[in-house]
Amino acid sequence: MSSYPRRFPLCAAAAGVLLLVSPPSLAAAATHMVEINQLKYAPVPPLKVGDTVTFVNKDLFRHTVTASNNSFNLDLMPGASGSLHINSAGHAAFYCKYHPGMRGTMDAK
């Protein structure tokens, strides 16, 4: 199945979700792949500011990665992937709009 990678920077809207820290981390930015399968998000590893999280929908079903405060949203058809760029530290909870029982969290330092 084809993949449609997209990038969704966590810009100003994300400031309310992920707390800003200073100074920015000097560690090299990393890209983390997080699978969605069997109506579950795989755990998101600990993140650092500057990292990218790419969600890959390996399920049969359409899913979203939607912030609990609606500050970000990835809508992923089966086989698709989408990315979030982490530009501030803090905690964010997310869920699937189509399957509200699907929930996850991520933390960035």
Binding site: Q38, L39, L60, F61, R62, P78, Y98, H99, G101
Partner: protein, 172 residues
């Protein structure tokens, strides 16, 4: 669990006759039951999309149509690959008869009354199908790929049941 148990379960929830048989359902029968159950919920979802003006109910109905279509497309591909012909059986017939009666009942309702009945029936329907999947269909399936697809279906339908229960509570 035996085929008899499945029929009794369906009969208790859906008021269908319960033929007695010693063996559990065969894989072709299981495929037919699962596919039929999905198709019936797709039809119910399409009816809701025609009748309801409630955004949450319409969103749920779209979810039912989309998800059950995905599972049934996978099921069709699987039975084709396995050279299995789904076999009609009394349980599929009972599900269809009950769904026809519910569709007729819903067709006489409008507005909030329709929404409540549709969502309440979705709760009951998923409970029944999930019970049959867990207690009879999955344990009786012999083919590993069919069993795996049924397990995926059960995971999905439990989510649907929970979503329907949340929605039903909001519509009270």
């Amino acid at each position: 669990m035996t085929r008899t148990a499945l029929f009794i379960l369906a009969a208790s929830a859906l008021a269908i006759s319960a033929p007695v048989a010693a063996a559990g359902p065969t894989d072709p029968q299981i495929a037919h039951i699962a596919y039929t159950a999905g198709n019936l919920d797709i039809a119910a979802g399409k009816q809701a999309l025609k009748m309801s003006h409630n955004a949450a109910v319409r969103g749920f109905a779209q979810e039912m149509v989309r998800d059950h279509t995905a599972v049934n497309q996978k099921a069709l591909a699987l039975v084709k690959k396995l050279h299995v012909t789904p076999a009609a059986n009394p349980t599929s017939a009972g599900l269809t008869k009950a769904a026809d009666a519910e569709r007729a009942k819903l067709s006489k309702l409008k507005g909030a009354a329709f929404d409540r009945e549709y969502v309440n029936n979705e709760v009951a329907y998923h409970k029944t199908v999930n019970g049959a999947l867990a207690s009879t269909l999955i344990p009786s399936a012999h083919n590993a790929e069919l069993k795996s697809l049924l397990q995926t279906g059960l995971t999905l339908f439990k989510e649907h049941q929970a979503h329907a229960e949340q929605l039903a509570a909001k519509l009270k």
